[in-house]
Symmetry: C2
Subunit: 261 residues, 2 copies
């Protein structure tokens, strides 16, 4: 199975320009699962909920159409972040899209910092979706900080976590090694680069997108100097064997009756 | 607050010799919380449950008495692993002991590999104990692999995790950085060095005992070349502020209603 990330540098509010950047980066690419950053087509640093609502869309909008065309070209599925407008609600969401259309939407459960002023928190449990190549779970950016996120996906059989991100802190990449190790699954963290200075926000995104192996190893970590696409071959079947030792199953050894949750 | 670990090299089955090693290493030491390895006085590689039972004891046994005398000398509390015999039951346990006696016993919940042939699994929830210096949670060795362990302690207010260990895999030290980061607490992982070749087991313990800071930083990591005591000063109050950002509380931001557990 070929997975990959597209590390972009979105221009705030310029959806068409951001689509073109992804098109240029992914020309000729084939991948079973390609992951783009959080909010890849709109930018991140909204100054108000109203501004974000004006850029929000549903699963019938231009971002879904763009991702479907990208999936057609790449021959697999694509996961990418977008501001999902659903009636009066607005979510920091991610779509999983194939050539036949939108397969799933995940609404970010753990909102980071000022996102709480802009988005509604996700209202649906973590869920896993079957692709021809593997079972994929979706989480977004700051969900990395909560072990319950990746755990919830692992317990539903996720072999690969598609993880669109707009990271501004230095912790995620190393923490994802623990997430993959403790759950024996792969992760593709697609981060962005660049800066956004808007209103009170002055954010620099840290790049270093990462494909993490199911034993916690870094299969590839990018840098933060430019946009890039990186493809990595992995065997998702390795994520099905949860035995850390012949006598230790990472999920079955859990003792939920003795945990506080 | 001064915390510390004692990295020892136990001789299998030679309790008195192992006590003396700890005495020699800790001469003149003062610490609010000192952590010794898992099963520090007996060794680890039991060839049968019967053999372990023969070395098991209760909280009125010689190990508790030794640890109480150590706590008197060091002026604080001591956490250390021992095989706890309770009727026909045998647990891979850890005691928290002060100069007044045994304050708490934790029975290892996640048994590693062949420990399953020797010990009964822990039968009590993770719990936290107040010391004059801070609230302490106990976990043992392989509990590191389960995020639910440290999380259960954090949710009960643990500021420092005392973590006796007999590590044979290379993962724990880095994973403990994630445990401390995601829960904003400190941890003292006391590992052993040396080898034990007994029956089918041929184990080499990896040393590199570690004091981990509440932002995931390594405050000190030892090496694996010798026995040592290491003291580190830390401010346990830092573990009370769970705000990763002014808008993100690491525990209150959890959404248990949306998790699978």
């Amino acid at each position: 199975m070929i997975v990959g990330y597209v590390q972009t540098s979105p221009a705030f509010g310029l959806q068409e320009k951001n689509f073109r950047q992804v098109e240029e980066l992914t020309g000729g690419i084939k991948a079973d699962l390609l992951v783009l950053p959080e909010l890849f087509a709109t930018g991140y640093a909204f100054t108000s909920r109203e501004e974000a609502l004006s850029l929000g869309e549903g699963t019938g909008g231009p971002t879904a159409a763009f991702l479907q065309s990208l999936a057609e070209r790449t021959g697999g599925a694509v996961a990418a972040g977008f501001p999902e407008k659903d009636g009066i609600r607005l979510y920091n969401a991610a779509m999983l899209v194939s050539e036949v259309g939108v397969l799933a939407v995940y609404r970010k459960i753990h909102l980071f910092a000022r996102e709480k002023f802009v988005f509604d928190p996700g209202d649906r449990p973590f869920a896993v979706y079957p692709l021809p190549s593997c079972a994929v779970g979706l989480m977004i950016c700051f969900d990395w900080a909560f072990p319950e996120a990746a755990r919830s996906l692992a317990l539903q059989g996720a072999q690969v976590i598609a993880h669109p991100a707009n990271l501004v802190t230095p912790y995620c990449q190393e923490a994802m090694r623990t997430r993959c190790l403790e759950n024996r699954l792969f992760a593709v963290t697609a981060n962005r680069i660049g800066s956004e200075k808007r209103g009170e926000q002055d954010l620099t995104f840290t790049g270093m997108s990462q494909v993490t192996g199911c034993k916690g190893e870094v299969l590839h970590r990018g840098d933060n100097t430019g946009t890039e696409v990186r493809l990595v071959e992995l065997d998702p079947a390795a994520a099905l064997d949860k035995n850390l030792t012949p006598l230790n199953h990472l999920l079955d050894d859990r003792r939920p009756e003795l945990y506080l949750t």
